[in-house]
C-alpha cells in the first residue's frame, strides 16, 4: 500500500512559507508521543512563518466557535487537531462548513493516522483543499551524528594539541581556558558537568 511522504516539521513550515504563508495541508501525528510532536510542530511554524501558531481542537467545537476562532485573528497559523479521531458525522459537518473555515493564514490539519480515510470519505471538500499535501511527521533532523561528533573532537584535538583526557583533567583542576571552543569540547565528550 503506498504511503505518504515523510516530512520533518520545519519542512512542513517551509512549504507553507513558500506558498506565501497560506494554504491548507495535513500532517499525520506520530503514534508515539503525539503531544510533544504537536508542540514541536507549533514551534517550527512560529519560527519559520514568523507568526503565532495556535492549536484548536475540532471536537467539541461548534460551527460558531470554529468560525469565530479561525477569524480572530485571520492570518496566524492554525493547527486544527482531530485528537484521537473524529466521528464520521463530525467530518461531514466540518466539510459542509468549509467556507466558514477559509482564512488568509495557513491551516494545518493534525490528524491521527486513521483519520485520513475519514477525511477523504466524509469531507471531500476539505480534502480537495488539501490535495496531495498530506505528510507523515518525520524526524526533525539537526542532531549531530556520531561521525560528526568524532570529527569535531579530532579537529579540536589537532588544533589545540590536547587530548580529550587532558582537557578533562584541566577542567577538573579549573585550569581549562575559558574560550567557547573548550565548552563545546566538554559537552561533545559528555562532560557537560564540568562546565
Amino acid at each position: 500500500m503506498p504511503e505518504f511522504s515523510t516530512q520533518p516539521f520545519f519542512e512542513v513550515a517551509r512549504r507553507l512559507e513558500i506558498r506565501g504563508e497560506t494554504g491548507w495541508l495535513a500532517v499525520l501525528a506520530p503514534v508515539t508521543d503525539p503531544t510533544a510532536a504537536l508542540d514541536q510542530l507549533q514551534t517550527e511554524l512560529q519560527s519559520i512563518l514568523q507568526k503565532p501558531a495556535r492549536v484548536i481542537q475540532l471536537e467539541p467545537s461548534t460551527f460558531e466557535e470554529l468560525s469565530g476562532d479561525l477569524h480572530q485573528p485571520d492570518d496566524d497559523a492554525v493547527i486544527l487537531s482531530s485528537g484521537t479521531g473524529l466521528a464520521q458525522e463530525k467530518w461531514r459537518s466540518l466539510d459542509v462548513m468549509r467556507s466558514a473555515l477559509e482564512r488568509s493564514g495557513p491551516v494545518i490539519l493534525w490528524l491521527s493516522p486513521g483519520d485520513v480515510a475519514n477525511l477523504t470519505e466524509h469531507a471531500p471538500n476539505i480534502r480537495s483543499f488539501i490535495g496531495g499535501s498530506i505528510f507523515l511527521a518525520g524526524p526533525d533532523g539537526g542532531i549531530m551524528t556520531e561521525t560528526e561528533r568524532q570529527e569535531r573532537l579530532t579537529e579540536l584535538s589537532q588544533h589545540f594539541r590536547l587530548t580529550g583526557e587532558e582537557v578533562v583533567r584541566k577542567a577538573e583542576a579549573k585550569e581549562l581556558p575559558l574560550e567557547p571552543e573548550f565548552v563545546e569540547w566538554l559537552v561533545l565528550m559528555g562532560r557537560g558537568d564540568l562546565v
Binding site: 520533518p8 520545519f10 519542512e11 513550515a13 517551509r14 513558500i18 514541536q40 514551534t43 517550527e44 519560527s47 519559520i48 514568523q50 533532523g141 539537526g142 542532531i143 549531530m144 560528526e148 561528533r149 569535531r152 579537529e155 579540536l156 588544533h159 575559558l178 574560550e179 567557547p180 571552543e181 573548550f182 565548552v183 563545546e184 569540547w185 559537552v187 561533545l188 559528555g190 557537560g192 558537568d193 562546565v195
Partner: protein, 186 residues
C-alpha cells in the same frame, strides 16, 4: 578628563583600566544571569528558520538543514555550524554571495522558563584579500584573570590577540549584524 587617582576622575594607569575592565565583566555577568532565551529546542528552531530565510534569498547555495547541528547532554545544548576552528573555507561553512563565510557555536544551559547562554563564538571570515581578514564575536565561560586583555564578551577585529569588549546579544541579534550589516558592507 584624565587625572590623578582618587580625584573622582578616570585614572589613566593600567591598574585603573583593569578595575574598569573588571566592572565591565561584572556587568556582563549580571546581564547574562538575567538574560533568558527560549528553550534550547526553540532557539535551534529559530536560528535554523533565520538561516533558511536568508539562504532562500541568496544566489549562493546553502542548506541550513544539513549545516546546523546540535547536541544535548547534562542540561546543556551545543548548537554549531561549520568547523570548531576556522582554517579556511569548507563545505560546512555558511557561504555568502560576497565570498565571505560564517561558522559559529553556541552553548545554552536549560533553566526554568527557557535557557541561558553559557558561551558563543561567531566567526565571520571576509573574502580573500580583505582587511581585516575576519571578525569574531566570543563569549567566554567565565571571567578571565585579566579582563582588560580578555573581556568575557568580546570582539576580535581580525587579530586573535586583540579583544574589544562586546555586549551580550541574543543569537539572532548577532546574526542580524552579520547578515544585514557586515555582509552588506562587504
Amino acid at each position: 578628563m584624565a587625572g590623578p587617582d582618587g580625584t573622582g576622575r578616570f585614572g589613566v594607569t593600567v591598574e585603573r583600566a583593569r578595575q574598569r575592565a573588571v566592572a565591565l565583566d561584572s556587568n556582563t555577568d549580571r546581564q547574562l544571569a538575567e538574560h533568558r532565551l527560549d528553550a534550547p529546542g526553540k532557539v535551534f528552531s529559530e536560528i535554523r528558520a533565520f538561516l533558511l530565510r536568508r539562504a532562500g534569498g541568496m544566489a549562493t547555495r546553502n542548506d541550513p538543514y544539513q549545516l546546523l547541528k546540535f547536541r544535548q547532554e547534562h542540561g546543556l545544548e551545543v548548537i554549531v555550524l561549520g568547523p570548531p576552528v576556522d582554517k579556511g573555507p569548507t563545505p560546512q561553512h555558511f557561504h555568502f554571495d560576497s565570498g565571505a563565510r560564517l561558522s559559529f557555536g553556541l552553548t545554552l544551559r536549560e533553566v526554568e522558563r527557557g535557557s541561558q547562554v553559557v558561551s558563543f563564538r561567531y566567526h565571520y571570515a571576509f573574502p580573500d584579500g580583505r582587511s581585516p581578514h575576519f571578525l569574531r564575536f566570543d563569549l567566554n565561560d567565565g571571567p578571565h584573570t585579566d579582563p582588560l586583555a580578555e573581556p568575557r564578551c568580546h570582539l576580535h577585529p581580525g587579530i586573535d590577540d586583540v579583544r574589544i569588549p562586546f555586549s551580550v546579544h541574543n543569537p539572532i541579534e548577532i546574526l542580524d549584524r552579520i547578515f544585514f550589516v557586515l555582509e552588506r558592507a562587504t
